[in-house]
């Protein structure tokens, strides 16, 4: 009841705020990531610098906001991933994934608007730099095919010579 009232107050009839907000939140995430990266680079050289403690506090705040907007992005996308159970839920449908599939999709959803190469995905999503490009490609293709079962076949995008990413507007074709 309360949520439907809130919806009435913030949405126009027929308007889908979740869909329009998704790229905006993804854009904020990109800039927060850039700030966090600069702060980490600065802190790596800040030995004995008086501002180091303050910069560390700044980084902590930026990382907290980043985590919060990443969660919100996943919520707006309507995709939830239970990392423990490796269970994907979307549009009222659930799909049991393997650990690697769940880690990969969760990583991509939390880093929108950015393509990742196979090497980067192996290292960042799975912490396993030994996986070959061909193996990563196979995982991606298998995951994309499995996501079709919940209507999310378009969610992982492939950009030629750039890598894999997540669609700016996640619109599943829930069946």
């Amino acid at each position: 009841m309360a949520s439907s009232l809130r919806q009435q107050l913030t949405e126009l009839p027929g308007e889908d705020l979740a869909t329009s907000a998704l790229p905006e939140v993804a854009g904020w995430i990109t800039i927060y990531e850039e700030m966090a990266s600069v702060l980490r680079s600065v802190l790596a050289r800040a030995h004995g610098v008086p501002d180091a403690d303050e910069l560390r506090t700044n980084l902590l705040w930026v990382e907290q906001r980043l985590a919060s907007w990443r969660d919100r992005h996943a919520q707006l996308a309507g995709v939830t991933i239970d990392r423990k159970e490796h269970l994907l839920t979307y549009a009222g449908k659930s799909l049991k994934l393997t650990r690697r599939e769940a880690d990969l999709l969760d990583f991509l959803l939390r880093h929108p608007q950015r393509p990742f190469t196979s090497k980067q995905l192996a290292t960042l999503a799975w912490q396993n730099s030994r996986l070959s490009d061909a193996q990563v490609r196979t995982y991606i293709m298998r995951l994309r095919s499995r996501l079709r079962q919940v209507g999310l076949e378009e969610v992982i995008t492939v950009a030629r010579n750039q890598g894999y990413g997540i669609a700016a507007n996640i619109r599943g074709t829930a069946k």
């Binding site: 705020l17 905006e24 904020w28 680079s41 800040a46 919100r72």
Partner: protein, 144 residues
Amino acid sequence: MSVAGAGKEIITSHLLVAQSKRLLLRNVENKLARGRGSASLMNADEIQKLGLLVDQLAADAHRAQGNYRRAVLKWGSGDTSDFWVVAYSSLASAAAGLVTKLKESARDLPATDRYEASTDVEALELLIDRWTAAMRASMSAAVA
């Protein structure tokens, strides 16, 4: 050559490229200003071409400046004032860009997100003030 030495060379190369691009841009901008003056013999077509060249060179200069900043952040030493000028200006400009985006797009979001975004804007504006002041202090140290 040591890693630090190579890093210094990389930064210097990027700085030279950025400075060259800025000089080229300034030169063509001056030419365009003269072309638009009353005593100019340039026709509209030539002025339009120069305008396009200015846009292209401005984009090149901006890209070169970005490459220089990235090189300083990657290879620079925390012992130099230049590093801190670039670090704080990068942080302040990223935060300023984020504030603009948050202000522009937050109004289209659900109420709870709008509130979250507005608290982010307040916190970021404080950070921008601090980082800008720190950048100015580093610039003074670099000049001294």
